[in-house]
């Protein structure tokens, strides 16, 4: 049950199987005199789906930016598959999906997916498992036939799916997603949630998914990482033990509602 994790508050959670995808050891991030993340200890188990919840200003996005080498740690250590964040970035170990799709508007859907393969060719950035076929990826995210569409010709949900396909093209072992469906309507969001779970099962990648929706966090996550604000710290990691594979009707079950209620109460104490 979820209460069993209560005692683990603030302590690193070690998981026996799967190995570690990312490890944060007493990692801190400061912006000037403001401490966004304060001595955060966290271990992300490889192959799992993590959702990250917390009140605004708790450093959810900052944590993803720290892991993805966009911002440096002021103190502590961050490692990804045993490498530093910079080494992992250069080896394309992880990919990032932004809240707005961040597609290049002059490139077609297919050309946007191919972008990561065009960059760094001279420096021989090599992808150990080899790149995936961009056309197949667009098919995987349900955009077959729209390869040549420009971003402005696609809906918000479609643009985000192109961004996901682009993130998957280098076969990342870790996928970082910063509120990717935050700007979409609820129906599109629910559909993309299901699609994302399919992709996760198909690719076996580790996913760190930041959201501000409790139900999205419960529906997607095997584990929900709850952060607290001022300064950003780990509040609790909650295991979501719901039947797999998850389907839409799961949202109507009492277990689902109980997890949501539990997280809502927890969020209020953050």
């Amino acid at each position: 049950m979820m209460e069993t994790k209560e005692s683990l508050t603030g302590a690193p959670v070690t998981v026996p199987h799967g190995g570690s995808a990312a490890t944060l050891k007493a990692a801190s991030v400061c912006f000037g005199s403001f401490t966004a993340i304060d001595k955060l200890d966290l271990e992300i188990e490889a192959g799992s789906f993590y959702t990250i919840l917390g009140p605004s200003g708790c450093g959810k996005s900052t944590m993803l930016r720290l892991v993805s080498d966009l911002i440096p740690a002021a103190a502590g250590e961050v490692s990804i598959f045993g490498k530093t964040t910079e080494e992992a970035r250069l080896a394309r170990e992880f990919a990032f999906v932004f809240q707005d799709a961040a597609l290049l508007p002059w490139r077609s859907a297919l050309k946007n997916v191919e972008l990561p393969l065009e960059i760094g060719r001279k420096r021989n950035i090599d992808i150990p498992t080899g790149p995936r076929n961009p056309r197949e990826l667009l098919e995987l995210v349900g955009l077959k036939g729209r390869e040549n569409a420009l971003p402005h010709e696609l809906s918000g949900g479609m643009r985000q799916r192109v961004a996901i396909a682009r993130a998957l093209v280098c076969q990342p072992k870790l996928l970082l997603m910063d509120e990717p469906f935050g700007a979409l309507d609820e129906m599109t969001r629910d559909r993309l949630n299901l699609q994302l779970l399919d992709i996760w099962r198909e690719t076996g990648t580790t996913i760190l998914f930041v959201t501000h929706s409790i139900s999205e966090a419960v529906f997607l996550g095997q584990k929900v990482v709850m952060l607290r604000a001022n300064p950003g710290r780990l509040r609790q990691i909650v295991d979501i033990e719901l039947p797999e594979p998850r389907e839409t009707k799961l949202r109507d079950t009492p277990e689902f509602t109980r997890y949501c209620g539990y997280l809502r109460d927890l969020l209020e104490t953050c």
């Binding site: 970035r89 992880f94 809240q99 961040a102 290049l104 508007p105 065009e118 960059i119 760094g120 420009l150």
Partner: protein
């Protein structure tokens, strides 16, 4: 009874199409009709009030001169055309290159942007004689004047355009470990194109003004020289015909840039 009836079945699609066609015809017809009416009013006014030709010629007189003097007009058109196009190319190219250095070096921008602003504040009519004195009465001075007038709008727009890449796109570049040149060619430069074309549309018409101003100061041939010549000889129909020729050149340049923009900026 052999009554033949033609039953017209209402076809909403055809009706909508016909309406769209009517709408299209109207959007073209209204401005054309307005212009024609104004020209007619001008003709009637000049004739009705007996305005002397050297003060304001009737449109019919201008049209007649345009046809009669067409070889002369064309003879003066080509030098201005060449100067405008050369000035357009030189001025914009310089502006683009300088914008690129500004975006890559804050020091360069701090050092040279105030100078660019200062040069821009000098009235083109004041700097034209200076340039003709330095560069002589040949084509060079006119090209430089046309280039100078194109330079500033493009510089300002291009700097903005190159900086218009969204922060998330730059984060994406960082996550992909893109090099500076990859960011420039794949992200900054394409992002700047809509801004560049806004500037090019401005300079398409101002480059013609620059060339003509240069010709005023000292030239034997060119639309600017013809304007001065016609003015001093009180040959108003020729003056008006030359003015139309000049604006025709501007429209041509503008149309070419717009055409290029439609083909290149498709997003």
């Amino acid at each position: 009874m052999a009554v033949v009836e033609t039953v017209s079945v209402p076809d909403p699609v055809a009706d909508a199409r016909a309406a769209a066609r009517r709408e299209k015809t109207m959007t073209a017809a209204v401005p054309i009709a307005t212009a024609a009416a104004l020209i007619l009013l001008w003709e009637v006014g000049v004739r009705g009030f007996g305005v002397p030709t050297y003060i304001a010629p009737a449109p019919s007189a201008v049209a007649a001169t345009f046809v009669d003097k067409f070889p002369v007009l064309m003879q003066n058109f080509w030098p201005t055309f060449v100067e405008s196009v050369a000035g357009f190319a030189v001025g914009n190219l310089a502006a683009i290159l300088i914008a690129v250095t500004f975006v890559h070096s804050r020091h360069m921008e701090r050092a040279f942007f105030p100078i660019a602003v200062f040069v821009n504040t000098i009235p083109i009519l004041a700097i034209a004689p200076v340039l003709v004195l330095i560069l002589g009465p040949g084509i060079t001075a006119k090209v430089v004047i046309a280039a100078l007038i194109c330079f500033f709008p493009t510089l300002v727009n291009m700097v903005r355009g190159l900086q218009s890449v969204s922060p998330q796109t730059l984060e994406l570049a960082r996550i992909l470990s893109a090099s500076k040149s990859e960011i420039f060619w794949k992200m900054r430069l394409p992002s700047s194109l809509p801004f560049l074309f806004s500037a090019l549309k401005i300079s398409a018409t101002t480059s013609v003004i620059g060339a003509i101003v240069g010709e005023w100061v000292g030239a034997d041939l060119g639309l600017g020289a013809l304007i001065i010549d016609a003015t001093f000889n009180f040959n108003s129909p020729l003056l008006y015909a030359t003015v139309f020729m000049s604006s025709g050149l501007s429209v041509l340049m503008f149309a070419l840039v717009t055409l290029a923009e439609r083909r290149i900026v498709r997003w």
